[in-house]
Amino acid sequence: MKKGFSVFLTVVLLSGAAFLFESCGKGQPSASPNSEVGLVFDVGGRGDKSFNDAAYQGLQMAKDSLGIKYQYIEPGGGSDRESALRQLANQKSIGLIFGVGFIFTDDITNVAKDFPDKKFACIDYSYDPSKPLPPNLIAIEFREEEGSFLVGAIAGLMTKTNTVGFIGGMESPLIRKFQAGYEAGVKYVNPKAKILVAYAGVTGEAFKNPAKGKELALSQYSQGADIIYHAAGVTGLGVFEAAREMKKYAIGVDLDQWNEAPGYVLTSMVKKGNVAVYDIIKQWKENKFKGGTAEVFGLKDNGVDFVYDKNNQPLIPESVYQKVEALRLQIINGQIKVPTQ
């Protein structure tokens, strides 16, 4: 009877493997060499309403206005990122390959060294200036702290209880950038404000636990916070749930998260992965690809921003908006230095 089980297990594992590469080879059969773009998504894949979707938008923009063709792979969890990168790099037609997410940092560095005639770009690459990048790899970084500073300023100006909250996912240098910028923004406009800080955990699971996010947020709201900013991935969806329940405000992250709790989302700090992907493709197409460097997208480059549109304009007074716009200019021309830790 053990045999029956091994058949069962094989079927399960095979269907798992089928998921991993379900979208291999989507796109057109190859044209001229090095003319297409390949992209490997982070865990979560397309439809995550966050960073992967932003990267995908960038691909679409490049397709529409630059006429490039693209292929992508959505890997599952675990170690298949590197093989996904290699699979794309091995195709003659593909000349530029993206990895989406800091988790690709080591994999894409190795693959870039093995394929010197292809170009690579990695979004959120955790760049270490002491380790030189291969000349065919661009590290794309965002100044999350700058965008977080501006939403922090909004929170600091709008809090009625003089208490605001921050909820992070996995405690890590990347997420602390959001926290540092936010705290600096709050304090800059409202030095007396109290800032409650909580993290959902210290592992990757901490980005996937909305029930925990909700409890963290409920706790901060009951301690007097009336606005909470989250940088916690799916865990942050629990923050919006708490905002609905307590009828308080939350601030979204990465993309405009208004739809998660309409009326309770004060604004969102948006990271424009789409702009970054599009810009890099454009540079590559025009033969201006500058490998071996870190390309940083901040307020100046329109790589980070906050949402102010017809949905949330009724929530944010004009005077607050004007003050925050003034801060934006001060950051862009260097009068305000936003801390990252």
């Binding site: 069962f8 925990k212 969806l237």
Partner: protein, 304 residues
């Protein structure tokens, strides 16, 4: 600060965190008392949450959603039952396979139904029961107005009775302790093991249902390790319904304490350790030896 931490809101939060642990842990007790190790709880919770969400979304009726959540848990547990009891395969491997399978299948169907790999559309929550006598405290009223909280308390107490004071419970324990003896006196080992695993499926499915209604949607991987914590609580509670529930309450308390203390200015890394430190202290210091049912995890081979 102390009074702020140990408030009614804190109590309510502790119980909210405990409910899914307790339901799944209780499920584990039924399954393992009958002799089937069930680390598939994690996957059952996830499938339960997903079924409850889909059921509620398409009917608009949370009560049908609850039934779907239970059904999703039952179906997942059925796989584990067939593989463990009929095929007599390794129960740990079957559990791991089911947990991996649950992650994949929920995400796959999520994309088909909701065109998103991260979360479903919003669903309505469970209707709240009005309890007149505690309306003055909104935290407590909201908590005990939730039918699943009331059900959880009832089922914990009832399970203690069922497992130790009824004929069904005696037979379930018999097939988990000494299946040969049970078989000799005419108790169907297969049947009672099915009962154990299926009840655990229904309860863990309900734990998932709680998560889905708490969040008003399904999100990818939302069980977030709760099945494993529930399993640990079951062992700490020595395979007793009341013991397991008490262990879950302790874990819920530690987690809630951790959440409250994060605002108190202590280093967050230190505070993150609290639940785990509590677990180790309790395991090492207060519980003593935890002995599993003798035939737990051992497939029963009928002698010819």
């Amino acid at each position: 600060m102390i009074s702020q931490i140990f408030s009614l809101a804190f109590l309510a939060q502790t119980i909210r965190i405990t409910v899914p642990y307790a339901l799944a842990s209780l499920g584990g007790v039924y399954s393992e008392r009958g002799g089937v190790t069930n680390i598939a709880l994690e996957g059952i919770i996830l499938n339960g949450a997903f079924s409850a969400t889909v059921g509620t979304y398409y009917t608009g009726n949370p009560l049908i959603g609850v039934l779907c959540g239970i059904a999703g848990g039952l179906l997942t547990a059925l796989i584990h039952a067939v593989v463990s009891i009929n095929i007599k395969a390794d129960q740990i491997i079957s559990g791991i396979a089911i947990n991996l399978f649950a992650v994949g299948i929920t995400k796959f169907v999520l994309e088909i139904l909701f065109h998103s790999s991260s979360n479903s559309d919003r669903i309505p929550g469970l209707p709240h029961i009005k309890l007149g006598f505690i309306e003055q405290s909104p935290d407590i009223a909201r908590l005990f107005g939730n039918p699943l909280v009331l059900f959880t308390i009832l089922i914990i107490v009832a399970s203690q009775f069922i497992i130790f004071k009824t004929r069904f419970g005696l037979r379930l324990r018999a097939v988990g302790e000494n299946p040969e003896a049970a078989d000799t006196v005419g108790i169907s080992v297969t049947l009672y093991r099915y009962y154990g695993v299926l009840i655990s499926g229904a309860l863990a499915g309900l734990a998932g249902t709680w998560l889905a209604f708490d969040q008003h949607s399904f999100t990818d991987g939302m069980s977030a390790g709760r099945g494993y914590i529930a399993l640990a609580a079951m062992i700490v509670g020595k395979w007793n319904p009341l013991g397991a529930a008490a262990a879950c309450l302790l874990f819920g308390f530690a987690e809630s304490l951790q959440i409250q203390l994060q605002g108190a200015g202590l280093p967050t890394q230190f505070i993150q350790m609290i639940p785990y430190v509590v677990t180790i202290i309790v395991l090492a210091g207060f519980i003593g030896k935890a002995v599993a049912p003798a035939a737990d995890g051992v497939p029963y081979e009928k002698e010819k």
